[in-house]
Each structure stands twice: as C-alpha cells, then as structure tokens.
Symmetry: C2
Subunit: 235 residues, 2 copies
Amino acid sequence: MIRLFHLPLSPFCRKVRLSLAEKTLQVELVEERFWERNTDFLRRNPAGKVPVLKFGDLILSESAAICEYLEDMYPEPSLMPSDPIARHEVRRMVSWFDDKFHNEVTSKLLYERIYKKLSGRGDPVTENLRAGKQALKYHIDYLGWLLEHRNWVAGNKMTLADFAAAAHFSSLDYFHLPSGNSDSDVGYASDVDWNRNAAVKDWYAKIKSRPAFRGILTDLVPGFTRSPHYANLDF
Amino acid sequence: MIRLFHLPLSPFCRKVRLSLAEKTLQVELVEERFWERNTDFLRRNPAGKVPVLKFGDLILSESAAICEYLEDMYPEPSLMPSDPIARHEVRRMVSWFDDKFHNEVTSKLLYERIYKKLSGRGDPVTENLRAGKQALKYHIDYLGWLLEHRNWVAGNKMTLADFAAAAHFSSLDYFHLPSGNSDSDVGYASDVDWNRNAAVKDWYAKIKSRPAFRGILTDLVPGFTRSPHYANLDF
C-alpha cells in the first residue's frame, strides 16, 4: 500500500497526487500537520515538511525528487519527454512554479490566509496579500504568453510542469474570498481571475477535466469555505 | 563554446561549475549582476537569476534543471546512480541543500554579508547572522551523521548531491570573518567550524582535492577578503 502524508491545499502535495493519479497508482492519504513537528513524522522526514510518500519501508520526500522517482519507476503514462532539451524545459518550469511562483504568489496569498489561521500565527498581512495579487497577474500573463506558443506549459505534450502549475492554481482557486474582498467585476470569488487570459483559462479547463484531477476537486478543508466555481468544469 | 552567466559566490552557480568541470566541459564564465536586472539578461532568463548556461543558441536556466540536462547529455563521468531509489536520494539531498540549507544558512550568512553590500541594500541584520550560525551547527551535525553511514552525501559514490553540498560550504568558507567576529577557539576565520565534525571535514577535504574543484578555489571576489584557509587542501 502506498501512503502519502500530505496537506490538502499544499501545491507540492497536489503535484505528487496528480502524478500518482495519472499513473493510476492507488494511494492512502494521511493528513499531516507538519507545523506540530510530531516526532514520528520528523523520523520519516527530517526536513519536517510534506509531502512524504511511503511505499512499505521505503520513505520518499521532496516533491521534485518524488515525482522523478515515480517517473523512473512507472514510466507509463509518461510525464517527461525523452529529449534532453525538452526535459530541461519541463524541469525549468517545475522550478518556476515551485520556487518563483511559490515565493511570489502562493506563500503571499494562500499561506497568509490559510496556514496562518491553521497554525495560529495571527492575521494575514495586507501588504503580502497585495504583493501576491500583483505578482499573480504577472505570472498569468507570462503563462498566457507561453501557452500562445505551445499547447502545454513546457511544450506540446502534457508533462509534470502542467501538474506543478495546476497544483498551485488549484490551491489558490480553492479559497473563497470573503465578499468584501472579491473583485465582483471579474466574476470569480477566489484569488485567480480566470478572465485575465483566455489561453490560461483554456489550459486550466483542459487539465481540470482529466480523471487524475478528480481527487483534488473533491477536497474539502474543514474551517475554510470552498469557492463556488472550484470544482466546476465549466467555470 | 559554452558560456555560464554566474556569480562567483553563488552556490547554485558553483554546483553547475563543478558538474561542468567534472565532465571536463570547457566553459567561459561571465559575471552577471542579476540584481541590476539588465534587459539582455532578463531576455535570457525571465526569472532574472543566475546560473544561466548558453550552448550557442540554447539557453538553460535553473541549476537543478541544468545539472540534470548535463547528466542526460554527458552521462560520463556519471553524477547520478542508475537505481531509482538511489537517484531519489541524490535529488532529495540536492533539494536539502538548495532549499533547506540555503534558506536556513546560506541566505542568513552569505547573503547578509555579501549580497547586501554588493547590491547596496544596507548592513547585515545581527539576528539573521545568529540564526544562520545556529542552523549551520545543526546542518553540520546532520551531514556528519549521514557521513558516518555512507562514504558520500547520498550514498557510497560521489554524486551531484556532493557538489550541491560542497557548493554551499565552499561559498560560506570563502568569506573571511572580521577578527572581532571569528571564533578564535575553533581556529577558522570563516563561518564554517571544520572542527565540529571529523566526518564532515574528511568529506570536504576529499572533494576539495578533486581536479573539478580547482576553478572554485582560485576565485577572487573584489571587495571581499578570502579566508586564509579557503584554498588550502590541508586546512
């Protein structure tokens, strides 16, 4: 039995869940509040963070390393091209989302709103929310520009880079903005303005409708209201 | 001709330089002050950071993606094992250093001291230096524990994980601490206390004496004094 220690809204965990689902590997999900620094959990991963994937006695951590392992062990269906230049582009885009997008957007919006509440570390800092929202616009524009030149995030085939990107977008899209904060003119009650770029919206609609995405769309996180369009395939 | 846009003390650039040197690929180094956000440079890498590797018209960025590309294209001498579990361990340890060690140690010590001065963003924050110094002790202990169970950072062969680790340690070891700040009892005038753990010192001595390390040991950064033991193989 494969067991994934995770948090439902962590984009790093979602990327691993999407890879597992695409490769039709059954997994048992175990929620792990890593900030409580449970001793058993630290034994599994001294970095003290999720995701951690357990195959019997084998314990894997670090989402990029886990996804590469899944690709090495279960190469079909493939989430990596075979050409070295195309592989580089997949890895560059995974880093783009997991490093740059994560620091500039996800940590500024999602972590401010959700993890601070969950871990009791106070209220969101308005300046961070503002910076995250501004950076998200820039990132949507960059992704839109890429998607005007290729079918998927890293080329003309769907790869791990699409899962990395969709993991961040789906986590952001979960959180229902309190009515006073939502931009009523854009028609979306999450941080993501899906009207900003048609190519980005089409791409997300395409990936959202894949069978591998179903698990993520059924997530419900106690204490946080889901945005009304979150699981809607026609959003 | 291969050209690497880099900064001499960036551990991410050093990891790429070590991989190139180990694979005996000749490279021209071009120093890139990424914080000046030069337009040509942003065209090469919209993430606006180093390293960027240029093979003719091909432009590669993100150090992890670059090293995997070098491994895909120039598999000998190999810096990655062939077994999927061993490959996972290499990638986990690369992330350990480039993510956790970087955030907890390198950014708190090296960036506080060097990049703030270079980019004119003020004086080091004492609290960051103290936190970085404390975290470095913990990291040396963890690495020492690993090296008591294996010959190299990720197993019994030298891999990319050793270059990732050595890149961070060598950058930290460059900076000569002003005499008032150095711990005279440990005998080293950099942030790294090589007396803390014998296994870590032996490992660093081993990797430091490899031909691939020579380029890094001859680095001289104007405006910053090199610690006296920096290039010494018997330190």
